[in-house]
């Protein structure tokens, strides 16, 4: 059954989109990730204009992160103060990101930059994740037990920075600077790549800020709700590229898929999950990278004024 997307201005198959939402939702439930970094490339592979894919995906992530954050708020695993500091950076980053997004779009380089950013981020994070988890699997086999994630030494340069604040829930006394900078980076990515940024924020919080693992996911989801909400509104007012019909189909598919994914995730071991996710991330990266390198079937492209939505 085809449905016409009012903002993307194209007919798409509703079941394909729903299936994509459910599949990515399943994976995100299973691995405990937002899924934006999988969904946006999938939408682009399905010929949704990248500008619409990125902006709409921010909208979808609002739904999935809100749903996830509710559970964490109930369990009390959110450091609200830390979340708000991350958010301050996130809002600044997102504002910059949307501005850069419009600029790139007007000079015709948006699609390229989105692809390059994906290849770089997915490539590096996918490799790190795969290597780390394969090592962990090997170690677990040798020792025959559960493996703890090792944290780096205690006195790093980050803890020498000024403007220190106390974050009670995380039991941290930490400078506000790295928190805001991290939030900003994630905000920029949310706007340009259409991701929540959890895949950057979670490792950075664990390894750089040394936030206790039990509050990391909840706090990052808390921040993601607000940054993606803000990004959705700014994209709507600046570029008019948020397609609410597309977003809604993906949201519904996503939240349903996530429930089944979470159940499936309990049956796998942590390091096996991380290895699988790492490989998946690398596969998406390879596909995007391949498209950048092979000679395109058509060297020319046409953009009409109607396509840009400028009136």
């Amino acid at each position: 059954m085809s449905i016409y997307l009012p903002i993307a201005e194209m007919s798409v198959n509703i079941f394909v989109l729903f299936g994509m939402g459910a599949a990515v939702g399943f994976l995100s439930g299973m691995f405990g990730v937002g899924g934006g970094f999988l969904m946006t490339p999938l939408l682009i592979f399905y010929n949704i204009p990248p500008a619409v894919a990125v902006a709409t995906e921010a909208n979808q992530i609002v739904a999935s992160s809100f749903s996830g954050a509710l559970a964490h708020l109930r369990k009390g695993t959110v450091d609200v103060k830390l979340g708000i500091m991350l958010l301050v950076g996130g809002l600044i980053g997102s504002t910059i990101g949307v501005y850069v997004f419009s600029l790139l779009r007007s000079v015709g380089q948006l699609d390229l930059i989105i692809s390059i950013l994906y290849v770089v981020f997915l490539g590096s994070i996918g490799s790190l994740m795969t290597i780390e988890s394969l090592r962990a699997i090997k170690k677990a086999r040798d020792q025959g037990g559960e493996v703890k994630v090792k944290r780096p030494g205690h006195d790093s340069w980050i803890h020498a920075l000024p403007f220190k604040m106390r974050f009670r829930k995380s039991k941290l006394y930490l400078s506000a600077i790295p928190v805001i900078v991290l939030g900003m980076l994630v905000g920029v990515l949310a706007a340009i790549m259409g991701v929540g940024g959890g895949f950057i924020m979670v490792p950075a919080m664990i390894y750089l800020l040394r936030v206790p693992t039990n509050v990391v996911i909840g706090t990052s989801l808390f921040q993601i709700i607000f940054v993606t909400s803000y990004t959705t509104i700014i994209q709507s007012t600046t570029n008019q590229t948020v397609d609410v019909v597309l977003a809604f189909i993906l949201m519904v598919g996503g939240v349903i898929g996530a429930q089944f994914g979470a159940a499936a995730g309990h049956k796998l071991k942590g390091e096996q999950l991380r290895a699988l996710l790492g490989l998946l991330v690398l596969a998406v990266c390879a596909r995007l990278g391949y498209d950048l390198i092979i000679t395109p079937s058509d060297l020319f492209s046409v953009v009409g004024t109607a396509d840009q939505g400028a009136h």
């Binding site: 903002i7 739904a63 749903s67 015709g108 509104i233 020319f300 492209s301 953009v303 004024t305």
Partner: protein, 260 residues
């Protein structure tokens, strides 16, 4: 059904009026619809353009010496054509050319190949036919240029043909009687929004005798139109609505699945 009744009615009028005597050949034309509504299930639509040749000389008319070409032209728009180049191993949009006066949609319907209807030079001057389309490159002082000239112009023409937005069909026009014709146009699902002008030309011996113009509108209707207008005219409110929809969906999912 409405369309059929309307068609029949107009045919009757045309059929009667053809008998009126006068000196000059005239063309009459009608379009089966004024409005092509684009709603959620839109997957293209067929529209019928019909008309009659009036005040024709009877003998040549019956020998089929008159010929009709129908043109359907969308609104003029701007278009940017970009060419990719390999830079540092990656394909990057490098050179670009901007055009104005590019039809968003263009289709020619005829009974015979355009070359048989008239001299190519005549059609060329009239700008009729996909090969004779022109646009104005912005960097060349807005002087019209044929879309068959230069690699960027040709690419624009070729891509629009591949997208089904520029087309030529020399079998789409039927002669129902010596003086009555009917052309069927299949609008593709990606037909641009806007007013589409329909022009018909009457030819005899390669010479244009008359032309007539009509139009129809392609417009988003209902929910799609409302959403599009909302997103463009009230973008802040639209963005806030999108966020609330997402919050509600996330909350609902959480509430439903927690019970289970």
């Amino acid at each position: 059904m409405m369309i059929k009744i309307r068609l029949l009615f107009l045919f009757l009028i045309f059929a009667c009026s053809t008998s009126a005597a006068a000196s000059m050949e005239k063309l009459q034309m009608g379009v089966s619809v004024d409005l092509v509504p684009v709603s959620s299930g839109f997957s293209g639509q067929d529209i019928v353009i019909f008309g009659s040749i009036e005040n024709a000389e009877q003998a040549p008319l019956y020998r089929g010496e008159y010929d009709v070409i129908v043109e359907v032209i969308g609104e003029m728009e701007e278009a940017v054509v970009r060419k990719k180049e390999r830079i540092g191993g990656i394909w990057v949009n490098a050179a670009a050319r901007e055009y104005t006066g590019v039809p968003s949609y263009y289709s020619v319907l005829s009974r015979n190949n355009l070359g048989e209807v008239s001299d190519l030079s005549v059609l060329n001057n009239m700008g009729v036919g996909v090969d004779n389309l022109k646009a104005r490159p912005v960097d060349r002082g807005n002087i019209q240029e044929f879309l068959t000239q230069g690699e960027f112009s040709s690419a624009l023409r070729r891509i629009r043909i591949e997208q089904g937005l520029f087309s030529e069909d020399s079998a789409a026009l039927e002669q129902l009687s010596p003086s009555l014709f009917r052309a069927t146009l299949s609008l593709p699902p990606n037909v641009p929004i806007g007013v589409h002008t329909v022009k018909a030309y009457l030819f005899r011996d390669g010479k244009k005798l008359d032309e007539i113009e009509n139009s129809f509108q392609v417009r988003k209707v209902g929910f799609e139109r409302w959403m599009y207008d909302f997103a463009h005219n009230q973008s802040l409110l639209y963005g806030i609505m999108c966020v609330f929809l997402a919050i509600f969906t996330g909350w609902a999912a959480n509430a439903i699945f927690r019970k289970n």
